[in-house]
Amino acid sequence: MISVDKKILLVDDDLDLLDQNKILLESKGFKVVTAEGSKKGWEVFKLELPDAAILDLIMEEHDSGFILAHKIKKDEHGKKIPVFILTSATYITGFKFGASTEEEKEWINCDGILNKPIVIDDLVNKLEIFFSDHITK
């Protein structure tokens, strides 16, 4: 299994959801580090240098997740890892956005948008595709 030695950073301002997603990812064999809020998220990212990051979109501000993703993607280490934004905003605002085209990836600066609640098998699938791609490259 690819996941064994991979470390995932989870950032969410809802402590309950943070714990739940941590348990889910751990059950699939990932190591998980968590941060409550985007400020802490950045600190943990710099400290732990995770293999992937999953960020909640709406935290302190309505776009905290985007901003943190942007920051991570500019970082030397962050460039190499997949970053996912976790949100239910598309449903609530009716505003459809994704990160499937190059253009969208450019301005949203992440590797995918994950809808809440997390479907763990989908997420694991996405992560594994990314990790295996990376290895073959």
Partner: protein, 508 residues
Amino acid sequence: MDLLKQKILIVDDEKGLRLGTKRLLEKEGFDVVTAENGTEGIALGTSTEFDAAIIDMKMPDFDGILVLKEIIKKYPNTVCFIATAYASYDTAIEATRVGAFSYIPKPFSPDELLLQISKGLEKRELNLQKERWQKEREERLLEVAFEKTRLNTIINSISDGVLVINKNGEAVLYNPSALKFLALKNIKIEEYIIDKLPEKLAEQVKQFLNSSEYLKRSLTVQLQMKADNELFVEATTSPVPAPDGSLAGVAIVIKNITELKKIEFLKSQFVSMVSHELKAPIAAVYGFLKLISDKSMNLSPDKQNEFINRSIVRLDSLLKMVNDLLDISRMEMKTTQREIKELNILDIIKNIMDLFQLEIKKRNLNVNIKSSEINPLFKGDQDEITRLFTNFVSNGIKYNKQNGSLVINIEKNDDYLVTEIKDSGIGMRPLEKDKLFHEFYRVKNEFTKDISGTGLGLSIVKRIIDSYAGKIEVESEFGTGTTFRVFLPVVDNALKENKVTLNNIQSV
């Protein structure tokens, strides 16, 4: 002088002719006045208006032409005849050139004279008629012009935009508001205007103008005229009928609906915020239940219990939030039943304190309640006012430090009953203070993460205070504490009482 008779002036120095003519004309029913020389002729002919004048060409003092000139200078409609024994082509021309109706060669036969006079009087009648009509027409025009000015003044002062377009698509009438709302620079009357209108409105107008039959209804369209919700207008186009029932054109009334749109936007923003806030606890509980039900997770009984308890906490806060939202909605719709009576604010606060005894002990807070009045009275609804102060007391305890203090001070000044709630809690940063009364806003920092709340308390408090025409002040220093000052108006209690009772009947 008979007023109904037509008056004729005879100016002649020859007595026989003068009297003979007078007799002849009087017999025919005319009122005749005679003058025996030019001087007298001018005097008579310019003092009253004669229907006709027969003037001798040659008189000892004045020339007949001169007399004629003087008379018609004063009364242009007096029909003048020049009578002359020296009839010549030149005389005739000269006489008519200066304004004579015609000339009568002397000697004249009675028939000839009467024929001439009747022709002359006919002409005079026509002239008078023409003059009357002209005068009438001028008066009409003046009246129309006045009406038009008045209408224009009214239309120009209407705050809604008005634009009238004829069936050829040309502007017929407009006011300054129409220019402003449709972002038109300047339009000329009778200029083809449809191309200059916003597309949606132009289409709407064309529907009327291009239709083969007369459309009786009005059409309305909303237009965003400026970006960022700065100018929204609603244009209503109605057909204008011509007298024969066909379409003469359309009248467009343009209303500024920017404020309405802003409210609409705030409302939908609120709905989306509410949905997000409601969804968060549901998602948390859903997640916990899924974990517990998933046997492959192998959760320990302790872990399962913890998740159940955390679910209960989230559901509890969800319930509170829904209740708060219902309260806000009731306040917004003004369906709250108020029972206004005299309340003792000191009693209310003391009662609230009793309910919080446990929390106060837990934090070991030093509570101090002071009042400048023995009975600080305020007329209001007991539930609302209790709710108001419960919120402040609860915040003052929740956000306080261990061993901190909570001081409540009630004072009355000329206008207000002022209640100050001062805590030694965690305080706020200026930016946080500004957002304090926004729905769902909660100060998020290392101190507040374990404090529960819906983020609606102060928003409700603000609504209650506003509804009593009161006000609120906040002073806060991060790390030191927060002071809220609630101002409830007491001045025209007598006046207000009536109003409140009235409002109460309408169940405000």
